[in-house]
Amino acid sequence: MVARPRLESLRLGEHRIPTPSQTVGPFFGYALPFVDGHVAASGQEAMRIEGRLLDGAGEPVPDGLVEVWGGQQFARCRTDSEGVFQFTVVKPAAGVEAPHLDVTIFARGLLRHLATRIYFPDEVTANANDRIFNLIDPARRDTLIAHSEGAVLRFDIRLQGESETVFFAL
């Protein structure tokens, strides 16, 4: 008997196919960033998070776009020629999960965006109890924790290769 494909159209009557993703390309820099887009908070509690977006060869990605949100904050930063991005945010409150920021990464070469999370280094207990943290191979969990460097929290994103950042399927 010849196998016949299912009649997908019946199912699609209920669930439409999502519009596919395409790369952000290299030329969004005049369109998507907005004034003070990387500053989502001010005041005493505000902290700076800085990092580099790196490719599989360890080279900076100078045409990336990184967005973070959490606790009603949203910020957007284009990477510079060294692949550096930075945000000013306050640490979101703990909810069901440990305090964290959701991170979305776009770049030329990424046909779909990537999603990761920034967890905070001073939340050792909350991080250890975090349900998403506990889904991840323990050897890779460190890639999601920012590190204190003086007054700044450092969070590098490695797209590929050694110490590749953990990304989530959405």
Partner: protein, 233 residues
Amino acid sequence: MPVKVPDPHRDSEPPYLYPDYRASVRRAPGLELVRLPPEWFHELPGPVFGRVPVHPEDADLTLQHEGRPLGERIIVSGRVMDGDGRPVRHTLVEVWQANAAGRYVDPMDDHPAPLDPNFTGAGRCLTDGEGRYRFVTVKPGAYPWRNHDNAWRPAHIHFSLFGPSLDSRLVTQMYFPGDPLIPLDPILQSIPDQRGRDLLVAALDLELTEPEWALGYRWDITLRGRKATPREP
């Protein structure tokens, strides 16, 4: 031997690694992405884009300068929906594009085609109560890129949308019907399923067209999002 049944839900997204698109080779993640239990998506907050400034005039890219831009004036409009076809209301839509000569304002673009002093090529709007968006612009030109020998991008408009949930964020590109560069473009052809690729091509629409003024193109967008649309298991 099992027959691979095409599944447009699965095959309508491009892979991360698509070697014909050269830039993906060093930027695609090499390890498996971590899957979250789908029911958790209901509890995860969605993006808050309220800080992004949106002005009514941002939706007409032909009125952002003293004079009018050169090129073919067009209207691009459609509905933003969830997987059940319900409207996604008051969500941010951002667009950017090359001018009619195929040149971006972006300083990183070194294609030797003229800039147009009357065209920036960036716009924003919010969808209305029925999920509709509408932009007035000029049709962008094709342009060369250096992905492979004699590589040209088909005319396209970049779109960025938020939607209601963590997984509804979408950045994509809209193409024009009948463009002979479409079958040659590795970025669009990276989508395995023809039905998925077809979803990125707008339709000429005489209802949207304003006679004696501008051709209308209709392009509807379906956002994924398990928060808005619980999926069958």
